[in-house]
Each structure stands twice: as structure tokens, then as C-alpha cells.
């Protein structure tokens, strides 16, 4: 598996470019790289929403749609938008190369 590079935009606006292994999730890659605003409290079992990110519309459409469980979690978040995802449910793939991932910093 190869590395993919992309950028997190942290809640305070600071950008951080990272390289992450394909197959990891956006939550894990954030924890690996010390990205602010992603806690990953539940370790990716889709039950804490402390990994909330917003994607560009183009990328959002390119990826598989969120599962029912993820969509329900997102709908409960005050600050969710049309391209919201839970980072732990997004696998890193070629589609993310060069992407800009906005971290929303939702608390549990």
C-alpha cells in the first residue's frame, strides 16, 4: 500500500499536510499526525462523533455514501453540513490525494 498526501485544516485555521498509508482512516491518520480537533474517542466504532470532518463537495461525491449508522450520527451533530463525514468511517485511498479536509472539532 502506498502513502497518500493530503491536508487537514485544523479548527483554528492552521493547515497541516500529512502523508498517510492507504487503508487507514481519516481519524487514525489525524491521531498519527497530532491533528487538533480530532479526538477519536471511541476508536472508530462510530459512536462518539469526535472525528467530524467536512470534505470538498467533489471529494464527497467521489466516495461511497455514509452508511446508515454514520448518517444517523452526523444528523445529530449541531454543526453538520452537506459534506460532513465521520473521519473514522473514511478510508484513505488515492481519491484523497491532494484533498483538503476541514476538521470541525466536535466534542463528545
Amino acid at each position: 500500500m502506498s502513502d497518500v498526501d493530503f491536508t487537514y485544516i485544523q479548527p483554528d485555521g492552521e493547515e497541516k499536510q500529512v502523508e498517510a498509508m492507504e487503508g487507514m482512516t481519516l481519524m487514525e491518520a489525524a491521531l498519527f499526525n497530532g491533528i487538533d480537533g480530532i479526538q477519536g474517542l471511541c476508536g472508530g466504532i462510530c459512536s462518539c462523533a469526535t472525528c467530524h470532518v467536512a470534505l470538498d463537495k467533489e471529494l464527497y461525491d467521489k466516495l461511497d455514501a455514509p452508511s446508515e449508522g454514520e448518517a444517523e450520527m452526523i444528523a445529530m451533530l449541531d454543526d453538520h453540513g452537506p459534506t460532513s463525514r465521520l473521519g473514522c468511517q473514511v478510508s484513505i485511498s488515492e481519491a484523497l490525494r491532494g484533498a483538503r479536509i476541514r476538521v470541525l472539532g466536535t466534542e463528545a
Binding site: L31, L41, G43, I45, S47, A108
Partner: protein, 406 residues
């Protein structure tokens, strides 16, 4: 150890020894002192550090490159001879590989369909006691429910459940004040691993791998995603992790709701609050009190450098009672709504079975409210488990108004 002689941390009073049985009755005042006076604590006898404030627990759990799980999440220097690597004793990238294989089916959405079988099992266990007005809620109910569910998920013969539970109890046993590995830890480990090995070989010989967890793990091995030791290690951990803690959770909310009777009265009026009661129990009296890490490099905390290669205790239930993080943290309030507690840990190793544990806990409570809402505890005949890591009862006899059979 190369801590300087004059280091004040070496002169701290020795107030926290998780191996001492006496601590297990009520560790919470000790945790409070740790948080207030010794936020970085050092235990000389067993040579480990401890963090107890919420923010510090989070720091350790988050910094998985500095605070590694290493060989094990215990504070013991040795692991049980004959044990195999499992997900909790791994670090990335191996940990990530193992976790991804199972994470999907442990999501709440995929666990929810188990509601019916959990409820049926709970009812079946409670029914024989409903008319008698007495039950040992641990031995008769809480010890059996989670084991029945995890065994069903793994495809274990229900007739073997008690035997497996005996072995998992053996594996976690420690003597008073000691962190030495004892003989039953080794035999329990050998028995449990041997049982799963036989199960796997039996399925392979019959050419029926199956679709339960055992079957899935065999398939992962055949696809080269896991090696054989990792398959056995996974089953070993699931049998232990899916059992002990959920049992203790049920006992702990039985106690908390008896102690806080006004909260139980509210629950009787509105059983939809049950999920909140489970969550609040995980916060204030969670079964997993503490987990260990090991430093891969030195780390600066509260003006002291923890040397590389040190064991560090993360006292989760102390973090959960930290007044720096929660309002009125020592009060049991089931509508508190805090899901950021550390009852299931946090971060990469956060409990894989949390959604299942929440489901089992909620249903157990709902069924207890339906069968024995006025349960009373005979405190004098309760008995506790003695473990550095897990807090809860081994015997918790209740009396209640008997129900005539419907």
C-alpha cells in the same frame, strides 16, 4: 531505573497500590488525593507511574507513540507464559490491521440486531428467580449474560460457557498485594487457547468454517490477513474482554441505583432513561478502573521526566471523577449526558465491544426493572472481585417483592 536520589517523587507517600485488596472496597478517596496532591504519582514497590486527572489520562491515551501498549496493558513486567499477542497488546501498524478486520461488526448499527437475543437471554436467566424474591445478581445473571452472548457470537457450545468463564476468571486472578503471575493464570491461558485451537481444527476437519467470529477469523487467516497466533489471540481477548467487564457493569449499576434510590424511582417511571443510567455508571463506577502503558521515550509531565521504559497506570475512573472536567463529579446523575468519559478508554485502543456492552447493560437494566424494580441489597453478604484493573462484585445477593408467574 535511573531516577535521581533527590527526586521528590521518590518520597511520595505510598497511597496507591492497585494490587492491595483493601483498596478495592473504595478506591475513590485515594484517587481524589492522587488528583489533588500527586497528579504524577510513583509507586516504589511495583515501580510504576500513575496519572489520575482527566486531562492527563487523555494525554497518555492520545500519545500512543510515546505511551505504547507494548507487550501488555498491565503493570506487570512479565506477560503470562504461553499467552499470544492480541490486539490490546499491539501497537500500530499491526494494531490497526487487526482492529480494521473487526471494527465494522462492532459498530452500534451492526450490534443493534442482537437486541432480541440479548433480551431473550436476559429474560430466561431472570425468570426462575422472579417468583422467589431473591437472586444473586452476579452469579445468577450478570456473569452469565455477557458470556452467553459472546459465546453465541463465536459459535461456542452453550454447554461450555461455564467452563470458559472459569478459565477467564483464572487468567485475571492475582494474590493480595502481589503482581506476580500465578499458576492458575498459566493453566487458564493454556486451557482457553487449547479450547479455541480444538474448535478451529474441528471446523477445518469438517470443512465447515462457519460465519460467526471464529469462522471470520479462520477466513482472514486463509486470506493471509492474520497469522494463526493472531487468530487465537483475538479469540482469547474477546472471551476475556467481552465477559468480566460487562458482568461488573451490571453489578455496579445494581449497586449505584440502590444507593441512589431517587434515580431508580425515576427509572421505574421512565425506563427510557436506562441507557443514561448505564452511561453514568460507566463514568462514576466503571468496571475498568485502570489500564497500563509503557513509555517508548522519556516524557515530561508535571515537572518530572518519566524515563523511557517506565510503566504508567492510567486511572480511568479517577479521570471520570475529576472535578477539573465534570461538575459535581461524585454525584450519580443519569441524565448527565456525558459520553466523553473514559469508561471504555479512548483513542486507538478504545473498547471495541463498547456498543455491545452498552446494549447488554441497557437491556439487563430494563429487564431487572421489569422483574424486580424494588431490589434490596444485603450488603453484608456481598463479595468483591480483587483485581488491579477491574472493579466490581463477584456476589451481590438481592431480595425483592416476588412476582407470581404470568
Amino acid at each position: 531505573m535511573c531516577v535521581a536520589e533527590a527526586d521528590p517523587i521518590l518520597n511520595q507517600p505510598q497511597i496507591y497500590d492497585p494490587y492491595e485488596y483493601a483498596l478495592h472496597d473504595d478506591p475513590y478517596p485515594v484517587y481524589r488525593r492522587l488528583r489533588d496532591e500527586f497528579p504524577l504519582y510513583y509507586n516504589r514497590k511495583h515501580d510504576f507511574y500513575a496519572v489520575s486527572r482527566y486531562a492527563d489520562c487523555m494525554t497518555v491515551l492520545r500519545n500512543f507513540k510515546t505511551f505504547i501498549n507494548g507487550k501488555s496493558t498491565t503493570l506487570e513486567k512479565e506477560v503470562i507464559p504461553g499467552s499470544l499477542p492480541f490486539i490490546l497488546s499491539m501497537d500500530p501498524p499491526d494494531h490497526t490491521r487487526l482492529r480494521h478486520l473487526m471494527v465494522n461488526q462492532f459498530r452500534p448499527h451492526n450490534v443493534a440486531p442482537l437486541e432480541e437475543v440479548v433480551r431473550e437471554t436476559a429474560r430466561k436467566l431472570l425468570a426462575p428467580h422472579a417468583g422467589t424474591g431473591r437472586i444473586d445478581i452476579i452469579a445468577d445473571f450478570a456473569a452469565k449474560l455477557p458470556m452467553a452472548i459472546i459465546c453465541a457470537l463465536m459459535g461456542v457450545d452453550p454447554a461450555d460457557e461455564d467452563m470458559l468463564r472459569g478459565w477467564t476468571d483464572d487468567i485475571v486472578h492475582r494474590e493480595d498485594g502481589s503482581n506476580e503471575i500465578v499458576e492458575v493464570n498459566i493453566t487458564g491461558t493454556r486451557n482457553l487457547l487449547g479450547y479455541f485451537e480444538e474448535m478451529i481444527q474441528g471446523r477445518l476437519a469438517r470443512g465447515e468454517v462457519g460465519e460467526d467470529i471464529v469462522g471470520q477469523l479462520i477466513a482472514f487467516e486463509q486470506q493471509g490477513k492474520l497469522n494463526h497466533a493472531e487468530v487465537l489471540g483475538y479469540l482469547y481477548l474477546l472471551a476475556i474482554a467481552g465477559n468480566e467487564t460487562t458482568t461488573k457493569l451490571i453489578g455496579n449499576f445494581t449497586y449505584q441505583l440502590w444507593e441512589n434510590r431517587h434515580e431508580r424511582d425515576r427509572l421505574i417511571g421512565d425506563p427510557s432513561l436506562a441507557a443514561g443510567a448505564v452511561e453514568e455508571t460507566l463514568r462514576i463506577d466503571g468496571p475498568t478502573q485502570m489500564q497500563g502503558r509503557e513509555t517508548a521515550e522519556p516524557f515530561e509531565l508535571h515537572g518530572h521526566t518519566i524515563p523511557a521504559g517506565s510503566k504508567v497506570a492510567v486511572i480511568l475512573t479517577s479521570g471520570n471523577r475529576d472535578e477539573r472536567h465534570y461538575d459535581d463529579p461524585e454525584t450519580y446523575r443519569m441524565d448527565r449526558g456525558s459520553r466523553d468519559h473514559l469508561g471504555f478508554g479512548g483513542g486507538l485502543h478504545s473498547c471495541l465491544g463498547a456498543a455491545l456492552a452498552r446494549l447488554e447493560g441497557r437491556i439487563a437494566l430494563e429487564e431487572m426493572l421489569a422483574t424486580m424494580p424494588d431490589w434490596d441489597i444485603d450488603l453484608a453478604s456481598t463479595r468483591r472481585m480483587h483485581s488491579a484493573y477491574v472493579r466490581g462484585y463477584t456476589h451481590l445477593p438481592l431480595t425483592f417483592t416476588p412476582r407470581s408467574a404470568a
